[in-house]
């Protein structure tokens, strides 16, 4: 009986999240925001379990995965289990991170000699070490300005276009390309 309840609870969690995403993909912005917020908690738990030895990387990877999920959200099919899709993306980013670290830190940072007690990973949402806001500043104007005005300033496409003198389609493309460039910067930076 308890197991049935447990399964039902998990399923209803997934159902709720999936419903938010599906509504978000149809253009419901508050639902999409709620999806991303709920998802980041889910991602944090998922990645914390898999990055026990690198607790300080967790929050950066949560952000990187969140950005990846947003950038690739058109690859979700409503008939597909949401968990499988989310976990495949998070795992892809996790493996990518470990590969990057293996390349960079082979000499500098021997993991085996470290004790990881007393790190900050238990705090609810640790501070990310990498500041995406700083990375954002390095984007070219055609991508940075649409993101700053639309995504951070809350302006509409039309308002952003008027303010920057760009066309509406250039604003949309700028946001899209800018967020992809941000993901690429994270990859080459770390």
């Amino acid at each position: 009986m308890r197991r049935i309840q447990e399964t039902a609870r998990l399923r209803s969690g997934e159902e709720k999240l999936r419903d938010l995403l599906v509504r978000g993909l149809a253009g419901d912005e508050p639902a999409y925001r709620a999806f991303l917020q709920d998802l980041s908690a889910h991602l944090r738990a998922f990645l914390r379990k898999r990055l026990v030895r690198l607790p300080d990387e967790v929050e950066d990877l949560v952000q990187e995965s969140l950005l990846a999920i947003h950038n690739q959200r058109h690859t979700y099919d409503a008939g597909q289990p949401l968990t499988a899709w989310v976990h495949a993306i998070a795992k892809y980013k996790l493996v990518d991170l470990l590969r990057r670290r293996a390349r960079h830190d082979l000499v500098a940072d021997p993991l085996d000699d470290e004790f990881d007690f007393g790190t900050s990973a238990d705090a609810e949402a640790a501070e990310a070490r990498r500041d995406l806001g700083e990375l954002l500043k390095r984007l070219p104007d055609g991508q940075r300005l649409p993101i700053v005005h639309m995504k951070l300033g809350g302006l509409s496409v039309t308002e952003t276009a008027r303010l920057t003198g760009m066309s509406e389609s250039a604003v949309k493309v700028g946001v899209h390309r800018g967020l992809k460039a941000l993901a690429a910067m994270i990859r080459s930076d770390a």
């Binding site: 978000g24 993909l25 149809a26 253009g27 912005e29 999409y32 925001r33 999806f35 991303l36 917020q37 998802l39 980041s40 944090r44 929050e59 949560v62 952000q63 969140l66 950005l67 990846a68 947003h70 950038n71 690739q72 959200r73 058109h74 690859t75 979700y76 099919d77 409503a78 597909q80 289990p81 499988a84 899709w85 989310v86 976990h87 495949a88 993306i89 795992k91 892809y92 990518d96 949402a125 501070e127 990310a128 500041d131 995406l132 806001g133 993101i147 639309m150 995504k151 951070l152 809350g154 509409s156 496409v157 949309k172 946001v175 967020l179 993901a183 990859r187």
Partner: protein, 213 residues
């Protein structure tokens, strides 16, 4: 930037997403790539002069069916590998079926033939160019399919690259059918397959490098 700020930022003005992104991208890539392959074939090789009579022969259609089945199965595989969290499921079986079928047919043809004819059935007239011409015709499709994949989210890059190569090889071979004079099953079952496997191997080598996101 805190994570909840990031979530708010990403959601702001996100707008609706057109459904069936993978299908639309692949449709464009395949139409564009196949057109490129057809132009390449027409310009460099030419359609076989007796095509009008060849299309009346059952073996012509067996050959077309063989590569078309490979193309369809590899398209399903490539599309699944382009989206996170999907399994290949029945795709490997669907890829193996046309290969096994043509091999059974080839074995049957070879067994029935006289010993002296067998090498002719296997090598035909064009064995030394066929695989390379198929690989050449697959090139425009290969580029187009990689473009389609790049805009989606493959997570198993080597396998995804191989699927892209296989798909482009099969479509290249389909276009090559319009030029190729060979109709024997032993020829098709080996040299066509070899031609299709060249871009497949290239794809598996390039996938991890080109498809990262």
């Amino acid at each position: 930037m805190r994570t909840d700020e990031l979530a708010t930022m990403l959601a702001a003005g996100a707008g609706a997403v057109k459904p069936h992104a993978a299908a639309r991208r692949y449709a464009r890539a395949i139409v564009g790539g196949a057109l490129g392959a057809a132009l390449l074939m027409a310009a460099l090789l030419g359609v076989r002069p007796d095509l009008a009579t060849a299309v009346l022969l059952p073996m012509f259609w067996v050959k077309v069916a063989f590569v078309a089945c490979l193309a369809a199965a590899s398209l399903a595989g490539a599309m699944r590998l382009s989206r996170p969290g999907l399994r290949l499921a029945w795709v490997p079986g669907a890829l193996a079926a046309p290969v096994l079928a043509i091999w059974v047919l080839a074995a049957f043809v070879l067994m029935r033939a006289d010993a002296g004819q067998r090498s002719q059935l296997f090598f035909g007239e064009t064995w030394n160019s066929c695989p390379f011409l198929i690989a050449m015709l697959s090139a425009p499709v290969f580029v187009a399919v990689l473009w389609a994949m790049k805009g989606l989210a493959p997570t198993r890059l080597r396998l995804a690259g191989a699927a892209a190569g296989l798909l482009s090889g099969a479509i290249g071979a389909l276009v090559y059918c319009l030029h190729c004079p060979e109709l024997e099953a032993p020829f098709v079952g080996f040299w066509y397959l070899l031609g299709i496997l060249i871009p497949t191997a290239v794809g598996s080598l390039l996938g991890p490098r080109l498809l990262q996101w």
